[in-house]
């Protein structure tokens, strides 16, 4: 087999079949060579989600685009309170993409799927000409079962609820930016990308009236909380000193002029929980390997509706605003 992707790998002919059989099927194990996977789903309610991953660079401290593509969809399905079961994978490959990199990426996807307990059951591959993509794009879709009685929604937050965060903020965004061309700086920070379905299931078992789970990915905690506050028509107050942030992430954010609340995460979960279940939810999060640094970071209040603010250690408060556009390093 060629050591690089060629247009013929997407032609539908024998080279494409070889690619699928030699690499995808062997690595993913569960991929069925049919046009559609047939699935057993023992429930009358499912959660269904899709996401597309176009991250650059493709490999970064602690992860890669494949790991991200599985974690992202597993977490999206899990935030509905569902148990993710099956995943589909669509690849857009650029002509000339190194075969070794592709192997590394799909091995990473297979490993992450095993960790999450989901099966990769169907897939698709397209090859585009040199210069028409940025190496590789991955789309994943996921299906999960949703137990009866679960009502997780951004509209459910109520005054008096507590806001929980499953760990340190901003690790993924800073790990990615530290590798970006022109900005390389030394850091030991690794991406936090992780499948959080077990953490969510444990939290939900401990706090069955959890209002909402949401993973604060692009736009960070700020965009997530603003969306929740708007949807539920409540206010939220975050206590800055309670928010876990790795000192290196804080330092890099200051250096670049970033608001750490707006930096992306891939392996963190926000939960809004009734006050009387908050401690149990926190204990459940902290018992997960991905939630050791979990903390209760703030409160839901009644008014003004839609307003998210941050109170700092010396008593001042300010708005926590939604990210507009892309965070860019400051000039000065």
């Amino acid at each position: 087999m060629s050591d690089r992707i060629m247009l013929a790998h997407g032609s539908g002919g024998s080279m494409m079949r070889d690619l699928i059989e030699d690499i995808f099927t062997q690595t993913f194990c569960d991929v069925q060579l049919e046009d559609a996977a047939t699935l057993e789903i023992p429930t009358d309610r499912i959660a269904f989600s899709t996401d597309t991953f176009v991250v650059h660079p493709l490999f970064f401290p602690g992860g890669d685009i494949g790991h991200l593509a599985v974690c992202g969809t597993v977490n999206d399905v899990a935030t509905a309170g569902a148990t993710p079961l099956y995943i589909s994978v669509g690849f857009v490959l650029e002509e000339g993409f190194p075969m070794d990199d592709l192997k590394k990426i799909i091995e990473s996807m297979a490993k992450t799927a095993r960790e999450a307990g989901v099966k990769i059951v169907t897939g698709d591959t397209k090859v585009v000409g040199k210069g028409q993509a940025d190496g590789i794009y991955i789309n994943t879709a996921g299906v999960g079962t949703l137990p009866a009685g679960i009502d997780i929604s951004a509209k459910n937050c109520k005054p008096g609820d507590k806001i929980l965060l499953s760990g340190t903020l901003g690790d993924h965004g800073i790990a990615i930016i530290s590798q970006r061309e022109g900005l390389e700086f030394e850091t030991t920070i690794e991406t936090d990308a992780a499948p959080l379905n077990h953490l969510i299931a444990d939290t939900l078992a401990a706090a069955p009236h959890t209002r909402v789970f949401r993973d604060p990915t692009r736009g960070g905690l700020a965009s997530t909380l603003n969306e929740l506050a708007d949807s539920s028509q409540v206010a939220m107050i975050v206590i800055e000193d309670l928010v876990p942030v790795h000192p290196q992430v804080r330092g890099a954010s200051e250096m670049l002029g970033y608001d750490v609340f707006q930096v992306a995460n891939e392996g963190k979960m926000v939960a809004v929980v009734p006050a009387d279940e908050a401690e149990a939810a926190l204990a459940a999060m902290q018992s997960s390997p991905y939630g050791i640094d979990a903390a209760i970071i703030g409160d839901v209040t009644e008014a003004p509706a839609g307003r998210v603010s941050v109170k700092n250690g010396f008593g001042a408060s300010r708005i926590m605003d939604t990210l507009v556009g892309e965070q860019l390093p400051r000039i000065c």
């Binding site: 330092g251 509706a305 010396f314 001042a316 408060s317 605003d321 390093p329 400051r330 000065c332």
Partner: protein, 374 residues
């Protein structure tokens, strides 16, 4: 890596706040309860730090913090933005610049709009990246649109020198760089602007040191403190300024001793003036200020974009209703601009102060309740 959490210690913050309250009360006793002490923060990063940490709201009633002209994107005149846009329209040119510049509206368009219209406009994180783009595109001219104060200019000068060393022929710079001290002189001289003290820029001062600000104290009797960007830095800077005013003392001091030495960074300054020479510069809101611009020297003329391609942009025009100029002079708080939070928001910015990540309007909009319905 630097751990800023040590500059957020609540106990130390409360101690500084008590000191600020004490001196504010002392000043009120001397000058009367109605006398408002106007402190201007020159630097856009300070503007953001003040807003982000809610520092304006915890000031005593007689202390008012005003934002100044220290956002390099905001002070770039329409004429310079228009020139950048003309470069982007040129089929032979790849325009490279910092991200903040993309959305800033010029007289008729923005770099972002030109990008949408097919112009080759690329964001870089460092001017050195533009050299790599030039190497990869030998048949195109790569023009770096250069804005910034003394902090960024040394690296731009070094980039031009590197291009010469590499014998790179398809790289040039459109230089709209500015220097800070004489802009402060213009503000201190402006009878419309009330300033009692200045929070001086930390990063700029890392390069130029303390001496270039001394005229503020000796000629204008305005105290100044070079300040860092953490909450405690800013509180300490304000405390040191109020202490001077309370004691009727006036001098320039450094609170940001971990970043700034009195003599600055002479090597960086030397690099700037190897490549650039002083010229007059047009500032948004302040007009033409003599000696605050930096033009590329004749010996580096081949890296001067204006000497490589002849452009004829239409006459600049001001954006209707936009009061960024007054905001930058410290003559108008952002929220008093007619457009603030109405037609001008971060999603749909009309003026540069709402676009830039260091702009005062963006700081007020992002972090305070001004201009919000919710």
């Amino acid at each position: 890596m630097f751990d800023p959490s040590s500059f957020r210690d609540p106990a130390l913050a409360h101690k500084l706040i008590r000191g600020i309250d004490k001196h504010a009360a002392g000043i009120a006793r001397q000058r009367g309860e109605k006398y408002i002490v106007h402190i201007m923060e020159v630097c856009g990063t300070h503007t953001m730090a003040i807003a982000k940490n809610g520092i304006r709201d915890i000031m005593p009633a007689n202390i008012k913090l005003t934002s100044g002209p220290g956002c390099p994107v905001c002070v770039t005149a329409n004429r310079d933005i228009d020139m950048a846009i003309e470069f982007a329209k040129h089929p032979e040119v790849i325009v490279t610049t910092f991200g903040d510049m993309l959305k800033v509206p010029g007289s008729y368009s923005s770099l972002n709009e030109e990008k949408g219209n097919g112009g080759d406009v690329r964001v870089v994180y460092s001017p050195l990246d533009a050299l790599a783009i030039a190497q990869q595109n030998p048949d195109r001219l790569v023009v770096f649109i250069s804005v910034g104060f003394e902090t960024t200019t040394p690296i731009i000068a070094a980039t031009i020198k590197r291009a010469r060393d590499m014998k790179l022929e398809n790289f040039a710079v459109y230089a709209a760089n500015k220097t800070v001290p004489n802009a402060l002189r213009a503000i201190a001289d402006d009878p419309d602007i009330q300033i009692d003290a200045l929070i001086l820029p930390g990063h700029v001062s890392t390069i130029i040191g303390l001496d270039p600000y001394k005229f503020l104290a000796t000629k204008f009797h305005i105290p100044g403190v070079i300040t860092g960007f953490e909450p405690l830095d800013v509180l300490q800077g304000i405390y040191m300024l109020l202490k001077q005013i309370d004691a009727s003392d006036t001098y320039i001091d450094i609170a940001y001793t971990r970043g700034v030495q009195a003599e600055g960074n002479p090597t960086a300054v030397k690099t700037i003036y190897e490549v650039f020479e002083e010229t007059d510069a047009e500032w948004r809101g302040l007009g033409v200020i003599p000696g605050t611009g930096l033009a590329i020297k004749a010996e580096f003329a081949q890296y001067d974009a204006l000497k490589r391609i002849e452009l004829d942009p239409p006459a600049p025009r001001e954006i209707k209703g936009c009061q960024c100029g007054d905001v930058l002079r410290g003559a108008l708080p952002p929220y008093e601009c007619r457009l603030f939070g109405k037609t001008c928001t971060p999603e749909h910015p009309i003026g540069p102060c709402m676009v830039s990540s260091e702009g005062s309007c963006a700081a007020y909009y992002r972090y305070t309740d001004y201009g919000r319905s919710k």
